[in-house]
């Protein structure tokens, strides 16, 4: 569906949801500690079992959040994946904006002034 364009922003609509169903379902499975461990043992095998596309598997391998979003990932679900890699929302914010984590934190603090 067409949206009013908001720079740097993807609306998680039906098109995104359809594209991302398998990827988001895999991330949903990470609510279970057992599944998180299974993923860590064999990342790509786990991705394959959930039917991720080549593009999605590459984005997982590269830990590339912008590519994961482009491939239909929803950030609430991607956060569960990022957690496995030890990345919090400042880390993924820094990655997506091309800043260091420290710069990203300063940007957040600056918004309050």
């Amino acid at each position: 569906m067409e949206h009013h364009d908001i720079p740097g922003t993807t609306i998680f609509d039906g098109d995104q949801a359809r594209k991302g169903l398998a990827l988001n379902r895999m991330c949903f499975s990470f609510n279970s500690a057992e599944n998180r461990e299974a993923f860590k043992r064999d990342e790509d095998g786990y991705c394959a079992r959930y039917g991720l596309t080549k593009e999605q598997r590459e984005a997982v391998r590269e830990r590339n959040v912008l590519k994961l979003i482009a491939a239909g990932g929803n950030v609430y679900y991607l956060a569960k994946l990022a957690g496995i890699f030890g990345l919090n929302v400042q880390d993924i914010g820094a990655q997506q904006t091309g800043m260091s984590v420290e710069e990203f934190k300063q940007k957040l603090a600056a918004a309050g002034r």
Binding site: T9, F12, N31, A33, V89, I92, K105, G112
Partner: protein, 287 residues
Amino acid sequence: MAHIIGGVATSHVPAIGKAIADKKQNEPYWKPFFGGFDFVHQWLQREKPDIAVFFYNDHGLNFFLDKMPTFAVGAANEYHNDDEGWGLPVSRSFAGDAAFSWHLIEALVADEFDVTMCQEMLVDHAVAVPMQLMWPNAKEWPVKIIPVSINTVQHPLPSAARCFKFGRSIGRAIESYAGNQKVMVVGTGGLSHQLDGERAGFINKEFDLLCMDKIVSDPEALTGYSSEKLVELAGTQGVELLNWIAMRGALTGRVTEAFRNYHIPISNTAAATMVFDHQPQPQRKAA
């Protein structure tokens, strides 16, 4: 009849739950946020609610994107929290009031809000964190909860106007329940924040301050924004403002602001807490 004593709105960022677990409340980063709860504790101590109706959004604990209800109401006598995958300790469970829930559901459907009815429902940090913030030292939770989940994740989202009317309907339903319960309403999430995309880290103080003013005195003014406009002004996750708007809708009488706290940043979020006093009016204006 049951009556509504007022409401609390608060951010529900998972990192707050982590800070509670790690006992960081008094550290310089966290104090400006947690300090805002001193007033809330006094208010709750004075008002002693029996039931808390929670307007919140699920983040992939109870609902997955395979089946996403726009509005869902819990109808259980007990609700559990569980592992959400990002390292928060699992909260102890919460008591519900199934009879009260079914009364709300009956009234909502009669009012043409065809909600999803959930006799089993996991509640995530969007309920657990505000509970821990409001009653940090409680051995047992002093309220029963009614979880009301609003889809703020999968577009199309319900409009702000629809969420406000939904809240209105719940408010009328609460006040028509044959009991003498003291009920508080809670709206969780927000305010402005965006976790995803090149615009990650977006915060809009000016819009948040406007929302906090309008939600007290002129909530209808917030119902004119489309979901896309809310994303633009408040960020992709700032649309959790819808939970606040629904909560405010449930306050059908005269509303006054008892307290507010606003602090940037907590995690990636403009964190806000508000308390609303509520006086039922004999002649309410129609929703």
